[in-house]
């Protein structure tokens, strides 16, 4: 009886750890959705801009420029809209998890969103620290 109780307690602890690990994994996955969508839409915009430039090659420089600027602007706005919407939905889900006490999932998602914020601002940070060698 005693042995059984110890095994049972160990089993329950192990299950708790596994559930917590699964919760963290799920939270991370959900938290990274906005970044994935941003990368997908933003990543598609660049080859599409090149394609627009190529398609309008014969139409003259200004038509080509308009097409490229239009595709790039729409792509950036679209990726911004998709990103904002995804963030809003993830934050709502995090709130629901917090309400239901699924703190591991909620925290993991919030960490993933924080990492996303860092990655989004990374180009600006890199530009700030990129070594430049301006002519005198």
């Amino acid at each position: 009886m005693h042995t059984y109780t110890r095994n049972d307690a160990a089993g329950r602890g192990s299950t708790r750890v596994t559930k917590r690990g699964a919760g963290v994994g799920r939270g991370l996955l959900v938290g990274l959705i906005p970044l994935e969508l941003l990368a997908a839409v933003g990543g598609m915009t660049i080859p599409l801009t090149a394609l627009a430039r190529h398609l309008y090659e014969g139409a003259g420089f200004f038509a080509q420029q308009q097409a490229a600027v239009l595709v790039l602007s729409v792509g950036l706005l679209l990726s911004l809209a998709v990103f904002a919407m995804a963030i809003w939905r993830v934050l709502r889900r995090v709130a629901a998890w917090q309400q239901s006490g699924a703190m591991a999932q909620a925290n993991a998602a919030l960490w993933a969103l924080s990492a996303t914020a860092l990655l989004v601002v990374l180009p600006v940070v890199l530009a700030l620290f990129l070594p430049q060698h301006p002519a005198p």
Binding site: L72, Q98, M103, A117, A135
Partner: protein, 342 residues
């Protein structure tokens, strides 16, 4: 109800979770706003550095008493129809010749008559010394079709188009025959463009580069913040945006990287000793950098001429006839004498 209450036992109060959520949301908002502003400014920079106002030539060779004919020829690869003048060389006997042709490449935001460097007058001077001249408007300049300014990357196709035209195109003076030798003269951006083109086209037998830059990147890193009155952190973004929008890779527009492959064809590098005195032009160090790179090739023939008292692209104005004499001696040594009279 009991179950609901027990589920919150041992958890952090919701207020803390809400606070963290708000903190993350704020962080995300700030990062998105900062990066969006950075992107918009970068796009603006890219458009500003690409598009230059085009002005037609202020005069023609006829205004200096020279014969000439208008020509149109396509650039190599992308076939933009470029406008130019073909000025036949005049021998001492008065006979016209097209045996040796100099392709003249103007500078940034200028045209085939470029007043600031004296290109039109120099073209006529060379023609009167027996060299035919092909002077043309680069893409996005003068009367040629609008195009992105790529600081030599795409403009080199125009020089290559000029070479193709001279070798196989419908020349305006058919009686003079095809040129026996082709050489080039370029000023400032035109000189850098000429170096890039000559590095890949052996038909260009000799080049004179007046005030070329060795690498455009340091000049852009200086000029974009200074002329745009913006912090230098936007420069890499602007250059990246130019690559996305126009396909222009400024990180690989460096004549210094290719000039060695011109050897053993002769190169004359000219620059004003007072270039860049206002810190808006090409520092004199560019001449030394280019010369060192050119001389690194086996069999290189490189001459340099640092013109005292001359600012950017002003060597011809300062030296006058001596400048023309120097060019004539250089081209004659490189291309040989004109034999059409014999």
């Amino acid at each position: 109800m009991i179950t609901q209450t027990s589920s919150h036992v041992g958890q952090k109060p919701p207020a803390i979770g809400r606070g963290w959520r708000r903190l993350v949301a704020t962080f995300l908002t700030v990062s998105v706003v900062v990066t969006s502003c950075f992107s918009v400014v970068s796009l603006y920079i890219a458009i500003q550095i690409q598009v230059v106002k085009q002005t037609p030539p202020y005069a023609t060779p006829a205004s200096l008493g020279a014969q000439y004919r208008d020509v149109t020829f396509p650039s190599r690869d992308d076939h933009l129809q470029l406008q130019g003048w073909f000025i036949p060389g005049v021998l001492p006997t008065g006979q016209l010749t097209a045996q040796r042709v100099i392709i003249m490449v103007h500078g940034n935001g200028n045209n085939r008559a470029e007043k600031s460097s004296g290109l039109l007058k120099l073209s006529v001077d060379l023609a009167r010394r027996g060299f035919a001249v092909l002077a043309y408007d680069s893409r996005g300049a003068g009367q040629s079709p609008p195009a992105a300014r790529s600081f030599g990357l795409f403009e080199q196709r125009d020089v290559l188009g000029a070479v193709d035209f001279l070798r196989t195109g419908p020349l305006p003076y058919p009686a003079l025959g095809r040129p026996r030798a082709i050489a080039g003269w370029g000023v400032s951006l035109g000189a850098a463009t000429l170096i890039l083109a000559a590095a890949q086209e052996p038909a260009i037998r000799a080049i004179v580069s007046d005030s070329a830059f060795a690498d455009i990147l340091p000049l852009l890193e200086r000029d974009i913040p200074a002329q745009g009155h913006i912090p230098s952190l936007f420069t890499p973004g602007g250059l990246l945006a130019a690559q996305v929008l126009y396909g222009v890779d400024y990180y690989h527009t460096a004549p210094v990287a290719v000039i060695a492959s011109i050897a053993p064809r002769p190169i004359l590098l000219i620059q004003g000793a007072n270039d860049n005195e206002n810190h808006t032009d090409t520092p004199v160090t560019n001449l030394f950098t280019l010369a060192a790179a050119a001389r690194s090739a086996p069999g290189a023939h490189v001459q340099t001429w640092l013109v005292p008292g001359a600012t950017h692209a002003q060597a011809y104005h300062v030296e006058g006839t001596a400048y023309v004499d120097q060019l004539v001696a250089f081209y004659t040594a490189a291309l040989g004498a004109d034999t059409s009279a014999s």
